[in-house]
Subunit: 72 residues, 12 copies
């Protein structure tokens, strides 16, 4: 990539869900998105949420991210 | 669905337009999005707008929503 | 188009990059998006950013826009 | 109206109050604004609020909108 | 109530869920909140969301509101 | 005023400037707006800014407010 | 209090109303909230509004604050 | 103008439309607003949008601005 | 729970503080809130802050969350 | 200063703390910032917070402002 | 630069003023900031404002940007 | 520190980058900022972003924070 050259990127919004923490939820979303989209370049966290089990433990993190990739 | 299991969702932004009110505009967007996307799970309203006719009546509601569905 | 008729639009988020200024970056994004998406109707600017070269000159503008098109 | 021609619009903020629901409150504001302003083109909802009566019923909706019209 | 007199209000955030539309969801939240809280004065809508059934129909509206009441 | 009756309000944005503090700047804006507009009902503060003199003293407060009045 | 020790705080939203200015309205809310809640630690201003009398004078300030206290 | 003297400004929201770029759309709105309002002092950009023609070219920029002027 | 049935939830804002990271601070808040409130369903992160010790190490994370539970 | 001439300003964020009210906290921040920075031109309030003593009195106001000065 | 390596950047807020348009105002701010700060990497536009002359012409653009540079 | 005493703090915006997760990126920024600034008191997270490698793994977290310190 050379700065100054015309390029176009697209951002899509995905939500990763994981019991393993915030970073794990981000990676979950990125891995899945990579399967159906083009090669991803970066992500931006939009929201962090989660579910609480009957025992009062956070049993999953739900992280809404935007992922971006170049439109070749 | 079991909480705690890794899952991924995608959100897309659609705008439903209807003369029948805000709920009708939401349903318009959901029905159309369901045709080309996967089975939808939920929606979030982003903006409510509308057009005003020459007679000063609101003749359509334009509701911007995000709809979400699971990436299997 | 007749106001009051049921219609649905979709918005997608794209980023145009150009050394030629903000308007050129918007056109870059629109032109590219038009290739893979349906006929576009309008855009909304979300963010304006850019890169600065070693010589202290802005060498590219990166403009994040949403583009909208009708789902027929 | 032809796209690309120089035009100017003005937006003013009005609040419609009605016991008949959100759409009725919007129409209330539009009808009143049409009397003193020029012919209105569109509206954008800013806030939805309301009053609760002693019996625990919502007895009016207060909808803040912006209405737009062309400055000829 | 006389304007200018010292008074204090409290706002709490509740979510009403109803299949009957946005106004019905607001009333659901207000009615329930009225049971455990003091007499309510007004509400402010924060978010409008909903669930989509397998048949592509919105089967419930979830409306997040703040309700306010005077602390006597 | 009776709750539930159809009514319409208008909000306009004014900026009061005063050396006498934030409340004085609000009153400055309200007094002036009252001269050219109809009887005002309430205000909402949007922004608080000010100018700093050469001696490092705040020499005026600039308070942006919206004022609302009923459209009879 | 020692930094690094597990602690939990709660925030509640209250509105103080006073004819005596913004600081007086904040103190009004804090004093009242202290009566029914636990010992308060800090506040954060959310909104400043007010009512305007028939004579064009601001006759009360309505300040929405969040107050926080430790959950022991 | 002397800092510290009581003054009042008003802000109104206008939208300039031009095929000539963002600055041209701002000037379009300012020129038109100047005709019906008092002498304008400054503007603040709120939103930048535009329309896309059938040929995939941006054929007009729509820039929402607030313009401010002193209430003498 | 069956979608479409009338239900009401309440959200309260709590702050968890922990030296063990962001997830630990969230769990701290959830565990404490569960003691005095009803069974919690989900949380939403509002703010992430923290304190820095004299040695330049982050010695606690302060995470502001909203927790939600059903009003039965 | 002549409008239209190239100029550059810098904004820095400071927090003034004072027991004397909001205006006193702003002046506290401005006075201190003036000592280490260049001559200041204006300020913009970002947040108003404060601490509450054991007696339920607001014992200090903490006002976050941005101050701006010209880079000569 | 290699992704994954620990790095730190700083952002500062500057305002460029120019009669030559939005891009010229951005370059004005970047050029000036480059003189007193380290080598800049990128910018993000925060606000676009401007002044209007007696003749109703925009006579300068004031663009608030954040510029970022690496802390080596 | 005694509450109620005049004090002033400054906030600066830094970005920590680390492959080790969000907390590691925060500590990276704090450690570096501590070298050139005065003793830091607290931080506030503004944004969480990151880069995605060719293998679809998040290879670095980029966390934008504000750090605050007292101006003595």
């Amino acid at each position: 990539m050379t700065y100054g050259q015309g390029r176009t990127y697209k951002k899509v919004e995905v939500i990763g869900v994981s019991s393993g923490g915030i970073e794990a939820a981000i990676q979950q979303a990125v891995t899945k998105a990579q399967q159906s989209l083009q090669k991803l370049s970066w992500f931006e966290v939009q929201e962090v949420r989660g579910h609480i089990g009957d025992d009062g433990k956070v049993n999953e993190y739900q992280v809404v991210i935007k992922v971006a990739f170049e439109l070749k």
